[in-house]
Assembly symmetry: C2
Homo-oligomer: 406 residues x 2
């Protein structure tokens, strides 16, 4: 299901192709979120037009509404949302555990803007060996998510890649808790794979998830355990620490171990997507990423720009953009910039809460990330990864690398 | 500026072309609202893609934010919103007077869905011969709108067609009030035209507005007065009564008089856009229409369908659409239906408050209206107006008439 075409000599970066039931995905790739069966503000043709070959649907939200039975009745998630290309679905675990663990604001993953989703009105009732009982944020009703439930829901969604259910161990727990949680995740991995072997849809691939928190030996143990399973690919989940250096260290240990025990299986890094993290993730051998960042920022009027000093973003609500006639980014080929919409106009639309403004900034952000990934893929293929990574880190406009070598 | 190409033999319907500073508009035409400088949820390329050649910007909203100075600095409204084709701007009068007169819910025009705009938080302070003092709904500050102000703002916007400021006489007033209000509107007409002659942008056309409420003799007098002025076109404004028969009667008297005194000038019917009203307006000789209906309904999940028994609309929020795999409308060529989005999916998106859902229904509705107008234009050109109007009234899918004769 995965072909590695080129491996970088100076790093673990690699360019490859995922061969999935609904088509191929060139890697490394970013996977935009279609949380509730739509990439927010966009149509599938927009997402494909930006160059994306895969999106991610959230099992947690989709199992609550419209529900797996209805999605199956409507022909599966692809057919329902009219996205003909590959889809990853997550397991639902991250959202369920986010309701219970709290404290995610201290972690690098899970930080949210001012308008967090409605998850917080739900709650965990019990975490047991069988699975998790929780209260739906939609109707207050009690629901259950266990390894088999998660796989069954993902089977109904008919995604190309399903993720096994893991316990998303939070950051503020003891080493002992992390170790016991990881062991449960490994038992759930086996149950997920057993269920999938018996009842999973033909052609659906399953990724196991490495846990172990920020403990090097636990991460190594988890990596070996997951690699030893029948899973088709491997995702890195759980707490990635409280800052970027810690997150990169966790990814580093894990992919170093994966190089040893599972060099040919594809790797997904869950919930990470800032520009520098994408570059550094690719360097460490990550093949796919998903993150709410570009779309969520877009809906908050934050536009991505090639400026590492500003965390690659500007806040278009700021008064300084009121009279700014420039596009978000000079020479940008995204639909918003290429059509000539000025920062002043976007500033105005965002302040007036016009939905057109949210859409335009979302298009820009996803286009920006798509070009970063395209640059990184091209760089690996041309044996210039280090050079291009340094250029992007220094604030080179994405797309420049691709242009200069094509 | 206006060429009448074909006049229907059995009615006052006519097909023509408006020749405007930013291009031509085939009439009869519907003009979508770009209230705050954007057709809500859409980009200009979407609106053009549906076949529209002109949009309407609201002077009232745009003068409050971002303001005429900034819009002029950004190159005018066309440049700011990146819509290269013709734009009509209204005078701001309708919104200002809606804040003061109240009781619009009893009138055929001005009825609103559950989420009315923020206008109601502003208020009128005084209506004087010079103009109207009112409180901004944005910052509570006092503002003034008079005939010269309105024309100056519209000059800054650089619209292709400016409307003169009129007093929008409400429905629940005495005949005497209506008569005095109409006379003030006529004095304001002269002041608007005087200002425009001295300071208006070259190439901007000005429409006068016929008032007179539901009094046949006042409507006739107003029509004669406006027709006798130097205005380039004529809009029908003010109270159009409390139901469709009364509204059609008012339009009928007015266009009958216009046939006599201004047969070659273009006519715009303000704020009317339901499907049957479009058909009957065209029959009575209206050339252009604007209305919030298709876009506002879209954002409320109401989709247009060829079903006069249901007022040409279905509410996609209704539970009966939960499992409905059909598109909004069979064989519909709109972007939502042509891409195969089902009613069930739209129902789900709307309930989940996904912005993609609002956009898709808006696209459908504007496409539906565009095809109704295209059918009516084609019918007039082919001397089949009566037949096509009857088919559309009976629930023929728009686009069918065009197809069957092409």
């Amino acid at each position: 299901m995965f072909t590695v075409r080129v491996r970088d000599r100076g790093s673990r970066a690699r360019a490859g192709t995922l061969h999935l039931a609904h088509g191929e995905v060139a890697t490394p790739a970013f996977v935009p979120l279609a949380t509730r069966g739509a990439v927010k503000t966009l149509e599938p043709r927009d997402v494909a037009g930006l160059g994306y070959e895969m999106v991610l649907g959230n099992t947690f939200h989709l199992m609550l509404a419209p529900g797996p039975e209805l999605i199956a009745e409507l022909g599966g998630l692809h057919e329902m949302m009219r996205w003909p290309a590959p889809i990853i679905t997550d397991s639902g675990g991250f959202q369920v555990f986010s309701m219970g663990h709290g404290g995610v604001a201290d972690e690098i993953k899970g930080r949210r803007g001012p308008q967090a989703s409605a998850d917080s009105s739900g709650s965990i009732l019990a975490v047991e060996e069988q699975g998790v009982r929780f209260r739906s944020y939609l109707d207050g009703g009690e629901r259950f998510l266990g390894p088999e439930t998660s796989m069954a829901v993902q089977a109904a969604l008919s995604s190309d890649i399903a993720l096994v259910l893991d316990e998303c161990t939070p950051f503020h727990v003891t080493r002992d808790y992390t170790a016991r949680s990881m062991e449960r995740t490994h038992r759930w991995l086996t149950r997920c794979l057993d269920w999938h072997e018996r009842e999973g849809p033909a052609g659906q691939r399953v990724y196991g998830i490495v846990q172990g928190g920020i403990e090097p030996d636990l991460r190594a143990a988890s990596t070996q355990e997951v690699a030893a399973s029948r899973c088709d690919g491997i995702a890195i989940g759980g707490s990635l620490g409280q800052d970027k250096p810690q997150m990169r260290a966790v990814v580093d240990w894990t992919t170093a171990e994966l190089e040893r025990v599972a060099p040919s299986r594809p790797r997904h890094l869950l919930g990470i997507g800032e520009i520098d993290d994408l570059i550094e993730g690719v360097r460490r051998g990550i093949d796919t990423f998903d993150c709410a960042m570009p779309t969520r920022l877009g809906r908050h009027g934050m536009a991505l720009v090639p400026d590492p000093g500003r965390r690659w973003r500007i806040d278009l609500h700021k008064p300084r953009f009121r009279r700014d006639r420039e596009p978000i980014m000079a020479a940008c080929r995204c639909p918003a910039c290429a059509q000539g919409f000025s920062r002043a106009y976007l500033h105005y639309l965002l302040r007036a809460r016009e939905l057109t403004g949210l859409r335009l900034v979302t298009l820009h952000n996803l286009s920006f990330v798509a070009r970063v990934m395209s640059d990184l893929r091209a760089a690996i293929e041309r044996e210039r990864f280090d050079e291009v990574a340094a250029q992007l880190h220094a604030g080179a406009a994405p797309g420049a690398a691709t242009r200069s070598t094509s």
